[in-house]
């Protein structure tokens, strides 16, 4: 019994005990069983979260890795994940995760990071990035950053949003790398930062005062509008008045003004946002970043891959439509190549937590590449392809391809939370099951 527990998840077990009677003899026995050095080491935890998203499901036959003798796996030539082959040992490829009570584009988009829960659940209707933000984001200048690439041409809706601050409450991603750059580094680039901050603060205080005055004149529905506005100002204040970054500003994104929704700029915008994400994490400006590439049903045309049909149309190509399937696989491989690019960016920065400069930014970062559907032709949310990248500070054991046999993806969301030391047992609808995916550690 004891040995099994040690083998599987001793850390998690201790974390779970945390709030209750930790000092019992059994807990001490566990602690004493370890060597003194190990006992002193802090629990292996992720320090930063990066969630990536690309839309419109997958075609499993082209996505699944090939198992090799001896329990390994390969990312086959021509397959969707092949562009990540160089990082195979850093991947946890998750097959067989189902979204419970969710199907189709909208259902999948809504459930992907929330597990579909309402206010009464442990995760209170939030998406996993917002839950992690609540736990570890508070000390950062930007408790979280939501970045996007062409997410908003259709406005904000269930189809175009993946981050939720509560049931039905979207968090809008910033689609403009130039604006992101200004938020992150605007007060480092030239000018007198102290003066700027003092003026910004007084403007925010003024607007705040006006909103409070106006609030008292209104009926309840209009008051709610102003309450949302006041809440937004608090976030602005934290962003513009938070601790100054110790980093030098990088070069401004090389993306022309007005090109945020130019279909053919999709690749430039993606890489600009990825560079900003990596810089922000490495500078300690934030610990939680999400990057949403397009949105479910997105009609992005991958002209740079020589494709003519929109991504959503391609995603519905039946097996008999070889041309359509090839187009979709080409588009999906492009997304995989961007994920590889992001991985390489994280590898290119030193680990900010390692005093001696050892390791890379990826070491303490949990990267989740999520999708919203399984087989795109069937509009179903079963076997939704999910990929974790990096050791997440030791919380994950990468280099494996796991078939989870139809378990609820809520367990994955629990695992992500537990990797950050958040003692959650359920995520979203508790009916979907409790506990983490113990296989990941």
């Amino acid at each position: 019994m004891l040995s099994r527990m040690k083998g599987v998840s001793r850390r998690t077990f201790l974390a779970g005990l945390g709030a209750s009677a930790v000092a019992g003899p059994f807990a001490r026995l566990l602690a004493g069983a370890a060597s003194p050095a190990r006992a002193a080491a802090p629990p292996a935890r992720a320090k930063r979260l990066l969630v990536l998203f690309s839309p419109n499901g997958t075609i499993h036959a082209h996505w699944r890795p090939t198992r090799t003798a001896g329990g390994g796996f390969e990312l086959g030539a021509g397959s969707i994940l092949e562009p990540l082959a160089a990082h195979r040992e850093r991947l946890l490829v998750l097959d067989g995760l189902d979204f419970r009570n969710a199907t189709n584009h909208e259902g999948g988009m809504a459930a992907m990071l929330t597990g579909g829960g309402g206010l009464q659940t442990e995760s209170r209707g939030m998406s996993v990035d917002q839950v992690v933000k609540g736990a570890i984001g508070g000390s950062s200048r930007f408790p979280s950053l939501e970045l996007g690439v062409q997410t908003s041409a259709w406005g904000g809706g269930v189809q175009t949003r993946m981050c939720y601050s509560g049931p039905g409450a979207f968090v809008t991603p910033d689609d403009d790398p130039r604006h992101v750059f200004d938020r992150l580094f605007g007060d480092v680039v030239g000018g007198d930062a102290a003066k700027l901050r003092a003026r910004r603060k007084s403007v925010l205080d003024l607007v705040n005062g006006e909103l409070v005055d106006l609030h008292g004149r209104l009926g309840r529905a209009e008051q709610l509008k102003l309450e949302a506005h006041l809440e937004a100002l608090r976030d602005v204040e934290k962003g513009v008045l938070g601790e100054l970054t110790a980093c030098d500003a990088p070069a401004a994104p090389d993306v022309p003004a007005g090109s945020t929704y130019d279909n053919d700029r999709f690749p430039d915008l993606t890489r600009a946002q990825m560079r900003l994400a990596a810089t922000a994490l490495s500078c300690g400006l934030t610990k939680v970043v999400s990057l949403q590439m397009a949105h479910t049903i997105a009609p992005t045309v991958f002209t740079w891959e020589g494709l003519g049909d929109g991504h959503h149309s391609l995603s519905h190509s039946g097996d008999g439509d070889a041309h359509g399937v090839a187009g979709f696989v080409a588009a999906e491989r492009w997304f995989a190549a961007q994920v590889a690019f992001m991985t390489e960016l994280l590898l290119s920065y030193p680990d900010p937590d390692a005093p001696d400069g050892d390791g890379t930014l990826l070491d303490g970062t949990l990267v989740l590449w999520a999708k919203e559907m399984g087989d795109s032709r069937l509009h179903v949310c079963t076997s939704v392809p999910m990929v974790l990248i990096g050791p997440a500070g030791g919380a994950l054991r990468p280099g494996r391809y796991l078939d989870l046999g139809g378990r609820s993806h809520s367990h994955l969301l629990v695992s992500v939370c537990q990797a950050f030391g958040i003692p959650m047992q359920t995520f979203g609808d508790p009916e979907n099951g409790s506990g983490p995916l113990s296989e990941l550690a």
Binding site: N104, G156, G168, H179, R199, R217, H229, H316
Partner: protein
Amino acid sequence: MTRRRRSALALLVAAVALGGGACAGADDAGSGDGALLEGIVGACPDAAAFFEERLWRPILSTKCVACHHEDGLAGHTRLVLWDETREGWLEHDFAAVARLATEDVDGTPLLLLKPSGLDPRGHTGGALVQAGTALYADFAAFAQKVAGDCGGAPAVCEAGPVLGARLLRRLDHTELRNTVRDLLGVDVAVLDGLAPDEVEDGYTNNAAALTVKGLLADQYREAAEALGAAAVAERLDALVPCGPAARDRTCAVGFIADFGLRAFRRPLTDEDIGRYLAIYDLAAEDGFGSGIAWVITAMLQSPGFLYRSELGKRDEAAGDGVFALTDWEIATALSYLFWGTTPDEALLEAAGRGELATEAGFSRELARLAADPRAEATMARFAEQWLGTGRLAFVARDPVAYEALTPAVREAMAGQMARVMEAAYADGETLADLLLSRRSFLDPELAALYGVTLPEGGGDAAGFVPVDLSESAYGGLLRLGSVLTVHALPASSSPIHRGKFVRERLLCVDLQPPPPGLVADPPSADPTKSTRERYEAHATDERCATCHHLMDPIGFGFERFDGIGRWRADDGGHAIDDAGVVREMPDAGDVPFTGVEGLSELLAGSDVAARCYLRQWVRFGTGARDGACQVDALWAGFEAAGGALAAAPRVIAEAPGFTRRRGGVGEMDTLADGVWSVPEDPPDPVVTEPDPTVGAGSDALTVTVHETTNWGSGYCRQVEVQNPTGGTVTWELVLDAPGSLTTVWNAVSDDVSEGRRRFRGEAWNAQVQAERGTSFGWCANL
């Protein structure tokens, strides 16, 4: 539809009178129905109609009943619905749903938790009614009615004027760009990247949907900083009310009052002026321009600027809980309705003189606004949102299949539509005219695309020539390239999108999105079949057909036009059948037609489409979500105007509901009130200061006190100090300075006696050298 609603209601009332007899014995809870219904309908007479109109029709009858019927997947749950063929269905279903509304789970009715997927026990059918949607709001309103709170929009329209709620309407991004451009006269490209406006029913200016959340607040901040700096760099002379020699704090106060009035569309209060002066003071450490820039930056982030106030003042004479918009608010409402931007000087002056509350003044300004070219731009913006053509520049198209759709052709399609709409408005055309007219405008790009020969000459600056398309396959609203292109797929036409367009935008019959849980392959590309054949196969699945039979058969009528609106003789080699049918057309049932021409005639001959047009204008013009009741109230006026397309905004503005609102107990009057007279520029009066008490050595100074601003309950004074002597003087003056000082510059002061204060210079101007001068001043509230 109206008739049906009333008959169902009558039936229900009768059933209530009989104590729910119609369902007795048919339902194990039947005996409870009567009392429950009697109580609810007794307290909220519109509850039954509301249930039928807002809950039953849109979703219960189309989605929920699919599982929630006696033999259905959810037949074992507490919600078992009867369909409409069964006698007593309405009473039964009302009661079943009302019971879920009374079941409380941690403060929320179960009725809201289940279909929204928020119930911890889950909902197998998924989140059909997402929190935050209009449908969810209707479920919530129904639950409130069940609980005895009858507020909210009535499902059955009351007779007489429809008074909307008191609103703060956030400017949408187009209004914001127009407004900033008009206020500052600078390039507004910095506003292009804002997080998009929430789109409700196709409109970006819905009053309830527009808020300032998260990212947007920061984008406003960033843009406001850039705009403040740009305005000062490029336009300072035009913006500030004083010449280069007089750019000081006093001038700043004048600027705040003057620019503030235009930015907030109302006179500033003393408190407002004090707040912005404090911003000026902080930033003026880097000079006058910096101070002004930051005042602009602050004002552009202010709720006074970002929200249009439609709050009004309580007007008990007009009725209980009625609020009348002030002149300032009327000016603002008119200006954004007709021009989509901030009121101009003349409109503000009319407001300042109190003329907009008079019939003569209101009519005069309304006529002036409607005749202005800026009204045309708003009409064009409405048409883009109504018809969905705003996406024309972005809709993705297969570059191989539709090589012809170059950016220049897209632009030409937009240009054609703008000219067609402009001519229709200008010539007093009705919706029927717009549908049937073959008059159009083509440039060489479009003429080539359509194979039409352009007459020689006669083109406008952009190369568009008026043409008669009677002899071609084109012409009329439904064959505009812009309309056909946005309602199509990247690589093909789309009967679904085109049918949905007609149904929702031209007939105002809204469709629900596909239900989650419905797993269906969409028609895949199949070269052996025509588009129509592929879609017909698609709709053989009954679950798809429930909704698609309302859309696809309309869309089939468009099959002669490809994905970019070109006429085609065949569909990839397959013969084209463009016979269509409008199913369940309000008040007409299923109506067949042939081709776009037939559909155009069908729509042109029906009031349904004209009423829908007016309803779309109500949504766009007033920010309302529904607009059905307003149309009932406005229809007679619209008909009296001959149904002219351009008459819609005027009819809306002339209705009593335009200037009045309904408010609740305890709500307070608007801030947009107060008197303002057109500022003149007299020389600052010299305040008589016959005997300034002066400190040692200061008696030789020449002292002049100007009152630079006086707004009744406060003032600012500026003091010039000259030293005519041959030596340096450390000055000290005791002056009349009544009221409480809000700010003092270039001096420190202390009280000497009631209304008298002693002023001494700051470190940098405490001493005045021989034959030099200094100045200082203060502002005070009386």
